[in-house]
Symmetry: C2
Subunit: 601 residues, 2 copies
Amino acid sequence: MLEQYISSRNLRFVLYELLDVTQLQKIERFEAYDREAIDMTLDAAKQIGDQYLFPFYRAMDKEKARYADGEVLVHPSMKPAIMAMVEGGWINAHDDFEAGGQQMPYAILNAATLIFHAANANIACHPFLTTGAANLIRTFGSAALNETYIPNLYNGTWQGTMALTEPQAGSSLSDITSSAEPVNDGEYYKIKGQKIYISGGDHNAVDNVVHLLLARIKGAPVGTKGISLFVVPKLRYENGELVTNDVTTAGIYGKMGQKGYVAAHLMMGEQHDDCRGYLVGQPNQGLRYMFQMMNEARIGTGMVAAATASAAYYASLKYANERPQGRHPSNKDVHQPQVLIIEHADVRRMLLYQKAIVEGSIALLLQCSLYGDLAHHGQGEDAVNANLLLELLTPIAKSYPSEMGIHSVSQGMQVLGGAGYTDDFPLEQHYRDIRVNAIYEGTTTIHGMDLLGRKLTMENGKGLQLLSKEIQTAIEAALLIPNLKPYAEQLMKTGASLQETTVNLFQLASKESPEVFLADATLYLEYFGTLVLAWIWLKQALAAEKGLAQNPSTNDQNFYEGKIQTFKYFFEYELPKMVAMKIRLNSSVRVTLETRAEVLV
Amino acid sequence: MLEQYISSRNLRFVLYELLDVTQLQKIERFEAYDREAIDMTLDAAKQIGDQYLFPFYRAMDKEKARYADGEVLVHPSMKPAIMAMVEGGWINAHDDFEAGGQQMPYAILNAATLIFHAANANIACHPFLTTGAANLIRTFGSAALNETYIPNLYNGTWQGTMALTEPQAGSSLSDITSSAEPVNDGEYYKIKGQKIYISGGDHNAVDNVVHLLLARIKGAPVGTKGISLFVVPKLRYENGELVTNDVTTAGIYGKMGQKGYVAAHLMMGEQHDDCRGYLVGQPNQGLRYMFQMMNEARIGTGMVAAATASAAYYASLKYANERPQGRHPSNKDVHQPQVLIIEHADVRRMLLYQKAIVEGSIALLLQCSLYGDLAHHGQGEDAVNANLLLELLTPIAKSYPSEMGIHSVSQGMQVLGGAGYTDDFPLEQHYRDIRVNAIYEGTTTIHGMDLLGRKLTMENGKGLQLLSKEIQTAIEAALLIPNLKPYAEQLMKTGASLQETTVNLFQLASKESPEVFLADATLYLEYFGTLVLAWIWLKQALAAEKGLAQNPSTNDQNFYEGKIQTFKYFFEYELPKMVAMKIRLNSSVRVTLETRAEVLV
């Protein structure tokens, strides 16, 4: 029997009962997305996950991607799976009908994407990476670029990538040095340089790879202001033929996890000084273009993390329901059979923790996706507000699932004990795979600085005001429900406490230095993120209470009760951590800044 | 150049300046261990680490142990390394002079062991596992068993193991079913059964493997009262010849880490119904015997964790001191070169966290080792008290380094960013290797229940009283030093708060059920452990202040300042977490107990 890797019931709960996504039908673009259409969409995704993705998750770890004689060979299941996703229309589902898309809202597309990633992110990342690359060309590229690249990207025979990182420029993109020299008045540019850690950067499940690559046109200003975006294919057309474009794969990285998914080291113009790049949009606007896609990539990273944690949760839940071991503290009679480990309080704690992280993250990610739909296709102030909320929440949606997902999978492994450490079970792969998400698309500290240094002050702090209002709305509703009231009060206090801490920090920014203000930005991110998740959990508890009031079936009764218990778990075990973080965030002892490098020995 | 994996300076600080281990010279058995002897001991260990262990750490992960045609093949570096450790006298260093040992105190032996484990625990575990097995035979076995086994174990040609776990009996040892049937009135026993996850259970770097195996003599009582201890060799003597003893290696486990170190699945009496075991000591006393060695095994697991975290810390520190990336928040001028990442506050935070965990754990482990020496070889009340402190602190010494070491290595990986996820650097191996320590020798929850359910109430709570006195002594000394005074006060308050929480919990035990009392034992373990580490850090700060007052060299000045900063880090960032844990531990909402298994979907 196929193992569970995600809960379809939970996705429907989030979409219908929590977010009411059919509200999007009010927007003309999305009017076809009624409940039936959404159900069909999710079922179609699950079928692909079951058939093409999940069965190969373990296999592509054991028979990992490899580099031989200049070629990158991926698992044979990769190509049919990519093609199944392409044929299902997933690669351009969000696009306009007239461009061949399905005008699918992100909230729904991302619910489906969570299914794919939970089944096997090592495969599922490929088509969505292509989508991202194609979006850049479609949004900013010329008609000629569109004509040449989009059809082949969308039919799945060409892979798209984002080529940003260089050996000397990781977090610091302003230090990119790859160069672009115009030829024939900019007909094309000669590209020279190296790109590292390029996900999907080369592999044999496709016929060609198209890099959306950042480089600096000769004479361009230093820093981020001189970075341009180019299309740099592995093979380029010359007289209607595909010929080599002098993009050499120097090798692929040996990674701890995601071994089915290549990270390549590429060298442009290294062999023949003839690597051609085609400028996308205007010169020196590359980083701006790239960043318009970055929110999606960041939400995408959060989704891979939440989905991996989901698969790990269900694997450990299954084990806990099947494995007898030990007895209750109050009845240790060895003549009695052992109990299932799910009966032990500490195993339940570990399962509740996982459920809290997985379902909290999924709800947050789909909430953000909905904000994205409203921001891009809604009207007037609603659209503006949704955009601000999306901007504010993106660092959390990227980092919280990535960071807490690591702990969540670790708890999943712990449920299995020794078995979890062996490759007889998938937990050890989840544990290795999930770790990278806190590094991808900006390490956690980058998002802490983004939140504290940029997002909070955006539009005079309007994002934070909007979020506070959302939280207040949930609190007010919860105050009316006796079962939730104490938690609503707890959240109210914690929210006030966060406001206070935030004001204190901003006073530091003006009284002291940006260094002092930002020193604990990573901790602030966790602090803020915990509050956001508490809000998401309170909203889920409200929806579950509503469900419970409607005479549910036994299954639904259990499902809703599970939501309430997990909500309580979050407020009892996770939310109090903010009290400790607050103490540190308000301390005036600048330990990290005052520590000289020489004393770290 | 050889990379750093442990700080010799720090080990000397802990031994001399923190613990004053030369005090042991007052005990006749240890009178030879003056500072010169200890220095030589540590240097000798470091030399073996540098030459035989560290150079093969990465190699034995890539060329992992494997099982082929019934044989288990380990890395070729294993045998020479084991022999170097044997020839250095490490395998029986703790033994009496007359038994060929060096009467080395555990405090010193374990400092050396930390060096070995930091260099390469995949190898170093082998001889110490043999030591543990030999100790059982020496302490409880007959003269004949001693004669047959000890010389070959101590010369490194035979491997010793502990064979406890069975498929149905992991945490629950009372459910062991391996059987032993006496032959010739107990001359030997016919052993039948399976043992799983047996570390070092079979490998080709030795000529024979000797299992110290738990089994149940036919007709013995059920539960722990019917478990006996046997010597079960892979090859047994028959007429002076070594012949097979019908111990079949069914396979080895594919593990996420520690791939150089075998975990075997063994079947006894499977092929010829002729597996012979030799009873150690009295029937039905097996678990008691085993547990007399368990404290050492538990401290040993903590040491592997602390040592692995140490190697990871120095690898990430090196990277942070070499890698330029980004600029300061207050000076982002892209015309300026990038700064070393150690200049970034968040990187320092991650390094300080690692240093806090690594050096805190090492100090705690050696403190416990010293208690062990005083307990076993000291006199009168001092010995009794040392034993109580050792018993009380063992769950912390096992679990804190194991649990926090996981996070510590993860922060080390994060310092490297993308590079840390690749096998170009050792962090990804440390990350995989260290994870198992929270599972080995009792998962963390087992130690939580041991602490709360057993150790705190031992001898009417005398252990806790003794520890409180130790903490009070450190606080009183620190109150006199202005730099430490606020932290001493913080610890005083936190200690009082822990007492209060503990009293509350014990009231639950009597008013409610053992289930309620123990439900959050794992959290209590972390809570208690954090206080213990704060005490250890305060003691280190006191020693460092003393060092600073003695006109130190520049290097020592930096070293002591690093201690003070790391101490401050611990009190600023880690100790406040107890406030949050306290909230949860005192809550009357029994989330985990009230959650029905059916709602976890």
